[in-house]
Symmetry: C2
Subunit: 454 residues, 2 copies
């Protein structure tokens, strides 16, 4: 036989059992999105490279999958450009399209392109694959799936609250115990101001964000190397050490420490409002103000949200925040948005590790008729049609082959009930129903079986 | 403002209303697939080019979207290869991956790659996008969606029957009146044999297949030009003219005309068996033996199936057949399969043209609270939570803005009920419910509203 075929590294096939598990996740997330009034959009896998380049930094540009132009893609390339050392510049000459890298930039592009047809505030969700030419490693793929939910065109903090409710709803339904961390960019700005380095906001928050991973000492080292003074670090420690206190205590300290900063007090009143809404919302998962949370900060301007699973160390399984100028990259200014993104692949790993996939959601076919030959088929086929008409997923083994082979098939496919009709059953107008889990057998008619399943 | 962003030609964004319509189609098809015992798989968007090249003919190879290798993709290219006139050979040196062109070849690759983990017969379905660098035109896209369902590893004709049942089930649920045409490659072979040109099977059937489009005269011209004699054409006319007769009549004629051909009699007994099964199956759409149906023939070896909508001229909306050696292209011989593929984009056009999308399936959010300000929010938010807990998709307008703007939002989003709670309603513990279709208003409490919706 020829060499076994394979797929590109970092990509995956999904088998029926994996699909069932993945659909359990997607369906749960989608149900919450819809329950809260969000609507689906989809964008094409390919975007114009001009829409993607420059949106993810230099590193991101390198990780874009570029698509070779069709036809004679070299026809307009001059000899001087067609040189081995020219690969970077050449790539944008021979490729006009690329695969989407995330769902955020295509969404911004969508909003700008269709702004005259959209009713704002626009509550949209989007569940699609994204592609990155990252070095593949455990848990990191070149094709993976994001579930984004955003409200665009409304500055109301009710949106932040609804997103936290959705996060809570999703993880509650999935039985994942989670901690929902929130922070606010304006408070981080006030902290940087307070310690005397408003212009070093990014350096400071990027370092704070690493506290859990590298510890206080290393955070200090990093900040000293960025030119932050020892005195300022001492002040910063007060904020970092608030970790572990209740949200009320943290808010109390913040009021004392940064309450007189104008940006700080705006940030605090935003947080106050979110917390006060949430109090009446029956949120089951812990919501924790985490002053060290920054998430790269890149475009967040208000709320910052990140979710971790309490029982598995796998990093964040959901995250997002408020951004005031997402569509600016495509020329439409001052459209505020807020959203979060669920990482389906990590959620999959959490559910698998904690054995939380519900058995019943993995059952696809509920009943299988054993095939004993033509005469028996004639008896079974109308009964099979009846099951299907009653909404029961069912099948007949297509060939009259060895019983053992047929039972193995049912077993491998996790079919809970096998139906047998031989001479006796046919004479009595009944079926032998075998429960594949308990191995119990009973002789009943088709209506009784339908009742049993329903 | 900068130039409005756009997407690559031949690709599409899907807005919420389009997504709702598309999901109505996908959900209907998926439900039937699952009802009949099929399981989902998915394969990556990118395949190794070596898996794709040579599988779709020269024309197909040209239509593959190729993905530029990451990093310095020119590093191993010699000066002699890097020439403008070399674009075709160069493309396979600088691209190792391509986007999938259909779902059939990736499925064959999947079966071979995972053959030790698959329980045969393998009943799989796959609903995913495919990409072709075709010239875009009305109804033809560069990214489009296929819904494939196949049984692999079973030669039983029960599989053909089940596929026809699925086709009938899907179009019945979609309210599309369809004609399911079937034919058999073995019968076509017998016809070619009968008229004296067994070796010209493809030429003959390709021409017959065009009868509806170009008429008998042109079919004759085409066949004469391929070297078929006048006498043979006369014999062929008998077969082509069977169109319009009942299946029984056609089978009777075939029995007379090709009953003594060994391959013909096998084909006829296959068809007999399929028809006899179908008689007891309560098939609502017309099943028609169409001797002119060939579908390019490429790899079909037994049944050939094609479905057309009776009320819209749009070409086939579903098609497929039996192939005996699909996995041979990846080195695994003699695995028989049979399957059909639904064309989601054409089905979409049919439903749109016949106005068959059900209104209720387009409703996502069922109720919206008008936002009258903070005090009213306090009253509404627990009621909103109650609706959501009852499984009702609902939302509150996030900002206290003009009534007209809020009503326009509800209107544009097709929300059927708007809920208003001002001073009076709050005093009475009730809500004013406005039916957006009839404009009727009533004053009820939240439990009565839940009952109303359910």
């Amino acid at each position: 036989m020829a060499q076994k075929p394979s797929i590109p590294k970092g990509t995956r096939d999904f088998s029926p059992i994996e699909m069932a598990r993945r659909n359990y996740i997607f369906d749960t997330i989608r149900e919450s999105f819809i329950r809260f009034g969000f609507e689906a959009i989809e964008t094409p896998a390919m975007e114009n490279l001009s829409s993607l380049l420059g949106k993810y930094g230099d590193e991101g540009d390198k990780l874009l999958f570029k698509i070779l132009n069709s036809g004679n893609y070299l026809s307009k390339i001059g000899d001087t450009e067609l040189l081995p050392e020219n690969s970077k510049q050449l790539s944008t000459l021979i490729c006009e399209k690329g695969l989407r890298y995330d769902l955020t930039v295509p969404f911004a592009r969508y909003v700008v392109q269709h702004r005259n047809d959209i009713t704002f505030p626009f509550k949209r969700y989007q569940i699609q694959a994204v592609w990155r030419a990252d070095r593949p490693q455990k848990g990191r793929y070149r094709e993976f799936f994001q579930c984004d939910v955003d409200v665009i065109g409304s500055t109301s903090l009710l949106n932040e609250v609804e997103l936290i409710q959705i996060v809570d709803d999703v993880f509650r339904k999935l039985n994942i115990s989670a901690t929902i961390k929130i922070n606010n960019r304006k408070i981080l700005a006030a902290i940087a101001e307070k310690i005397g380095y408003p212009e070093k906001l990014t350096d400071i928050t990027v370092a704070m964000d690493k506290l859990d991973k590298i510890g206080l000492e290393k955070v200090h080292e990093e900040l000293l190397s960025k030119g932050i003074s020892e005195d300022s670090l001492e002040m910063l420690d007060v904020f970092m050490n608030l970790q572990g206190n209740s949200n009320d205590e943290k808010m109390g300290c913040l009021r004392e420490l940064i309450g007189n900063s104008s940006i700080g007090s705006i940030g605090m009143s935003e947080l106050d409002k979110v917390f006060s809404y949430l109090k009446d919302m029956d949120i089951k998962n812990k919501v924790e103000l985490d002053l060290n949370l920054a998430r790269g900060l890149s475009y967040y301007t208000g709320a910052i949200i990140e979710v971790v699973a309490n029982d598995v160390s796998i990093g964040s399984i959901c995250g997002g925040g408020r951004y005031d100028d997402l569509t600016g990259i495509f020329g439409l200014k001052d459209v505020s948005g807020v959203g979060v993104s669920f990482g389906a692949d990590r959620i999959y790993d959490v559910l698998l590790q904690l054995d939380l996939f519900p058995g019943e959601s993995m059952v696809s076919t509920q009943a299988m008729f054993v095939n004993f030959g033509e005469k028996e088929e004639e008896y079974c086929l109308p009964l099979l049609a009846k099951l299907r008409a009653a909404g029961i997923n069912s099948e007949i083994y297509p060939e009259n082959t060895k019983m053992k082979k047929q039972m193995t098939y049912a077993n491998n496919k996790n079919i809970p009930f096998v139906l047998l009709a031989g001479e006796n059953e046919i004479k009595e107008g009944k079926l032998t129903v075998k429960n594949m889990k308990s191995s119990e057998q009973s002789l009943i008619n088709i209506d009784e079986f339908i009742d049993l399943i329903k």
